[in-house]
């Protein structure tokens, strides 16, 4: 590289050579800089993905070599494994009821906050903070909060409202709603994204609506929601993917119970892989999960064309 200046001074031919080598240099530097991720892509993603496709067609009890059994794992999942179907249903339940509730709550809080409230920074911190607390401590805390006898929620119901509260995590009917309640505590994570979306809507739209005498309700449905649709799309997609990952709380608090009512997809997959060491079967579950997420995302992308409005496209 020290010779660059000298080369450049020689003549057009040499200069072209120098240019080429400069381009090559940039290619080389780019590849070297990107090499950690490129290697990671190969060893942590591509090879494992291929291996896991192969395993999913095998009987693989970790201590023996994988044995090819064709589509048996997939057939077993859907035809002979009621627990799998139950775990799928439990997770779909969370997607159908938990995701919309959390999304509406997140948007509602964000909209309230977007009205130029005083103390916004403090409020935002308070709402956002819980979403960063996770893991075992959080699960234990909620286990105690939802304790049917001594927990704060049940006692609130009894002392203040005079209602005998359900057993929450101990009831197969209420365990999933309990998990939805817990997830609402982390609503700040999506709220902060909604808020960024709301703040990026130009004031002109609202002013124009004001001039036209639109009601708040109309403004919300005709301006806020359409202009927010890319955010909605993002939050929806990531929430659905996230719901299929629910693991720690269920593992620590209920371990799938009672009566397998909180046996979620990721928990059942963990059991198959790391308690029964049925690696092939678990790989088939993982690929089924991938297929579900893929189809859901694809369907959303398809519908997105009709309801998601990207401003930049128009510009």
């Amino acid at each position: 590289m020290a010779g660059n200046a000298a080369d450049a001074a020689v003549g057009p031919a040499a200069r072209r050579g120098w240019r080429l080598s400069a381009r090559r240099q940039e290619h080389l530097a780019g590849l070297v800089f990107a090499s950690p991720w490129l290697l990671g892509l190969l060893f942590l993603t591509v090879i494992p993905v291929l291996a896991s496709i192969y395993f999913s067609f095998c009987d693989y009890q970790i201590i023996q070599l994988p044995m090819w059994i064709g589509t048996r794992n997939y057939v077993d999942l859907f035809a002979n494994d009621p627990l799998f179907l139950k775990s799928l249903w439990n997770t779909v339940f969370m997607v159908i009821f938990g995701v919309p509730v959390a999304m509406v709550a997140g948007l509602a809080v964000a909209m309230l906050m977007n009205q130029q409230v005083k103390g916004l920074a403090v409020l935002r911190t308070i709402y956002y903070m819980p979403s960063q607390v996770s893991g075992v401590a959080l699960a234990m805390l909620w286990g105690w909060i939802l304790n049917p006898q001594f927990g704060i929620v049940s006692n609130f119901f009894w002392e203040v409202l005079g209602i005998k509260a359900p057993l929450w995590l101990g009831s197969s009917d209420w365990v999933k709603p309990s998990f939805i309640m817990m997830s609402l505590w982390g609503v700040g994570g999506s709220m902060i994204i909604w808020l960024a979306g709301l703040q990026s809507i130009p004031d002109v739209f609202y002013e124009a609506a004001q001039v036209d005498g639109a009601t708040k309700w109309t403004v919300f449905w005709k301006i806020t929601l359409p202009l927010l649709s890319p955010t909605t799309f993002f939050v929806l997609t990531t929430s659905i993917i996230g719901t299929f990952q629910i693991f720690t709380q269920a593992f620590v608090l209920t371990n799938g119970g009672p009566n397998d009512a909180s046996l979620f997809y990721a928990l059942y997959l963990y059991r198959q892989a790391f308690e029964f060491f049925r690696m092939g079967y678990a790989a088939a579950m993982a690929w089924t999960l991938f297929a579900i997420v893929f189809v859901v995302t694809l369907v959303q992308l398809k519908f997105a064309q009709s309801w998601v409005y990207y401003e930049s496209v128009k510009e």
Binding site: P36, W37, I62, V109, V136, W144, A286, L289, F290, V293
Partner: protein, 293 residues
């Protein structure tokens, strides 16, 4: 919004009812927000309250939640009843060493995606975004088997080494950050004959302190909160992280809730402190991803 408010003011003055309506609206807004904030804080406050209670007090009917006198000695008790210090140290080592690699790799790769031209770059960038959609379960099983082949089960290698290949999300953040820095600085350094590495380490990196802090915060929170990784890879109790240790502790002392909550409080404290210290970085990172309406 400010323009809207000012344009509304004369109107509101003109008719008192509109003004009243507006005031009611404001009051309701604050009422909802403050009540919600209370609900958000309640679990954390309760965790701390319970952690200084006497055990029997909690199991009375109706339970008493305000400690008669705070039992701060629950804290020293909770950290001696299970090897808290040991687990804390283990967690710090894993988090610290993994963090360094994750930050170094993610910024390097992010810079490459933002500023260097190489064949296939844009295609690889799309591939990287796509990998974020792949559920971790898909690669988890083969990775476990690979680490097992290497004899790395029950070591920290599977928890630390993957960070050194960068993380897709952090690379994405880095790329967005570097793209926003004006190119003139680099060009000047290039004209002065600096090579790519010098430009990166001498010019770009010193400008990227906010980026590095953001990545450090994310990486810290992820590794600190990670339960699944340690759960499948670690077996010897001596090697446990806080998350695993607390779960084992939970199994043994289910009835001593104040001690459990004291341990939970201690474990949550670093995350809350980190968050309070760096929340503006978390919030800015959302702007950085370009996620807006």
């Amino acid at each position: 919004m400010s323009a809207e408010t000012t344009s509304l003011l004369p109107l509101a003055r003109a008719c008192g009812s509109a003004r009243l309506l507006r005031t009611v609206g404001r009051v309701l807004t604050y009422a909802f927000l403050v009540a919600g904030a209370g609900l958000m804080l309640l679990p954390l406050i309760w965790m701390v309250l319970v952690s200084v209670c006497e055990n029997q007090q909690l199991f009375m009917i109706p339970p008493e939640w305000i400690p008669r006198e705070p039992h701060w000695d629950n804290y020293p008790k909770s950290v001696t009843i299970f090897p808290f210090a040991r687990y804390f140290l283990n967690t710090m080592v894993i988090t610290g060493v993994a963090m360094i690699g994750q930050i170094a790799a993610s910024t390097l790769v992010g810079y490459s995606f933002a500023r260097l031209r190489w064949p296939g770059r844009n295609a690889f960038f799309v591939v990287m975004l796509a990998t974020m959609m792949v559920p971790p379960q898909v690669t988890m099983i083969p990775l476990y088997i690979i680490w097992r082949q290497f004899g790395a089960l029950d070591t920290y290698a599977p928890l630390i080494i993957p960070g050194y290949f960068g993380s897709a999300y952090l690379i994405f953040l880095s790329r967005q950050f570097f793209s926003s820095i004006p190119a003139e600085l680099e060009d000047a350094a290039r004209v002065d004959g600096c090579d790519y590495f010098t430009v990166y380490f001498r010019v770009m990196l010193p400008l990227s302190l906010p980026l590095v802090v953001t990545l450090a915060l994310f990486s810290f929170v992820w590794h600190w909160n990670d339960f699944f990784g340690p759960l499948i890879y670690l077996q010897t109790p001596d090697k446990y992280t806080l998350q695993l240790g607390l779960r084992a502790f939970n199994g043994q002392y289910t009835t001593d809730t104040p001690l459990l909550m004291a341990a939970a409080t201690l474990m949550t404290m670093p995350i809350i402190l980190i968050f309070l210290f760096g929340q503006q970085y978390f919030i800015k990172s959302i702007v950085l991803t370009g996620l807006k309406g």
